[in-house]
């Protein structure tokens, strides 16, 4: 309970709430698009670098390999659960359900960053390799979603003007994957000594930049919710709240079986429970253009992201402490 209250009163959550409420109240406040993109690149560079530096300082152990395996399995499998749940409990059609399911197998890097802060504040020290686990969890879910949509020929044939390899390029070379994985490799090459001169830029201002970014995320979530809620029935909105809990429970069981450390478990559970709203929506516009973005973006950004940020993270941290070895 104390952890939940501490999370809810942290500056990043309060700035997110400010953005959310401002958007819901129809404020005209905006964070300029180019500035927001710059913030996102900074955050992903900082996360990747720190993760790479930590990986350079620690040997590749069996636990690291198990965490990678768990991440890939979760990303492939969770869309199957999400798809079945959506089809059973909401009026969403097959293509929209497949596209939405992809978001719930993939991850939210901002939720991951916010969870890292909370997990570290509780004294648990998650490994830097979890950043790489986050990166590998971005894409398998998209493959599962495409298979789900194509099972009933719901995806249709190739779209006019499309070319071979464009989806693969979007999925593997989108800005977030390139910056995150690229910075991770740079961090791994330079190690702790090489990271030292860049620390004043990437460590000290990180929390402040995160506050700014969360303000923009709040605005995005609020506007998405305001514009897209009519597309969602009660079953779909409820799905956006219970699906992260199902994902967290599956991930927690896996962490327990694989005997992962509490800090790593907490972050892996958070990654599984989070839903993508940057990489997957763009991939879905190419892969399943008939799916309605108002449904899957409102679910992942307007419903699940605020839930995870406020109530989910303290819960997932506690679950990690409970199941971790």
């Amino acid at each position: 309970m104390a952890m939940a209250l501490e999370t809810l009163s942290s500056p990043i959550i309060l700035f997110f709430a400010l953005g959310l409420l401002a958007a819901l109240a129809r404020s005209e406040m905006t964070v300029p698009e180019a500035f927001a993109k710059g913030l996102a690149i900074y955050l992903m560079m900082a996360i990747g670098l720190k993760g790479g530096v930590e990986m350079a300082a620690n040997p590749l152990t069996g636990e690291v390999i198990r965490a990678f395996g768990a991440g890939i399995v979760l990303s492939f499998a969770l869309p199957l659960v999400a798809f079945a749940a959506l089809r059973l409990t909401s009026g969403i059609d097959r293509v929209d359900a497949a596209a939405s399911a992809a978001h719930y197998g993939s991850i939210s890097i901002v939720t991951f960053v916010a969870a890292t802060e909370v997990v570290q504040a509780t004294g648990l020290m998650p490994g830097g390799h979890l950043v790489a686990v986050a990166a590998v969890m971005e894409t398998p879910a998209i493959i599962t979603a495409l298979l789900l949509a194509r099972q009933a020929n719901a995806a249709g044939g190739p779209v006019a003007g499309s070319e071979r390899g464009e989806l693969l390029r979007e999925v593997m070379l989108n800005a977030s994957v390139v910056v995150l994985v690229g910075a991770l490799i740079v961090g791994w090459i330079i190690g702790p000594e090489g990271f030292e001169p860049t620390k004043p830029f990437f460590v000290a201002p990180f929390q402040g930049v995160l506050c700014l970014f969360l303000l923009d995320m709040g605005l995005s979530a609020g506007r998405g919710l305001r514009q897209g809620w009519r597309q969602l029935d009660v079953g779909a909105i409820t799905f956006g709240l219970y699906m992260p809990l199902i994902s967290a429970a599956v991930a927690a069981a896996l962490c327990w079986v694989l005997a992962l450390a509490p800090g790593d478990s907490a972050l892996l559970i958070t990654l599984a429970a989070s839903a993508s709203y940057i990489a997957v929506p763009a991939a879905m516009r190419l892969a399943l253009p008939k799916a309605k973005p108002a449904i899957y973006l409102t679910l992942s950004l307007g419903v699940t992201f605020p839930f995870n940020l406020t109530f989910g993270i303290p819960l997932y941290t506690a679950m990690g402490q409970w199941v971790g070895s």
Partner: protein, 103 residues
């Protein structure tokens, strides 16, 4: 001043499909096109605006091309298929240009 008649094709299209539309236009033989960002709008019972989507996957663009009627006709067949899948609207109008060799 002497002006020459051409066809102007304008498509308001989701940004993610702009490259596909560009390929269709290039295959039809047009000599050039311009892509402009769209700021905000309303359609399909949904209001949208550029700054509201962190993924930028719902951003819309406007594509403008001026070409001969024959080239526009070739492009329209494929554009119809593209717009069956992607979000967008298209219109064609007759315009007059000063330097026809550019189109």
């Amino acid at each position: 001043m002497k002006l020459y008649e051409k066809q102007r094709l304008e498509i308001i299209l989701e940004r993610m499909a702009a490259k596909r539309a560009g390929r269709i236009l290039e295959a039809a033989g047009v000599s050039g096109y311009t892509v402009l960002p769209a700021l905000a709008g309303f359609g399909g019972e949904t209001k949208w605006q550029r700054d509201a989507d962190i993924s930028a996957s719902r951003d819309m663009v406007v594509m403008v091309v001026i070409a001969d009627a024959a080239e526009i006709d070739v492009a329209l067949d494929q554009m119809q298929d593209l717009l069956a899948d992607h979000i967008g609207v298209l219109n064609v109008s007759t315009v007059q240009v000063m330097r026809p060799d550019l189109f």
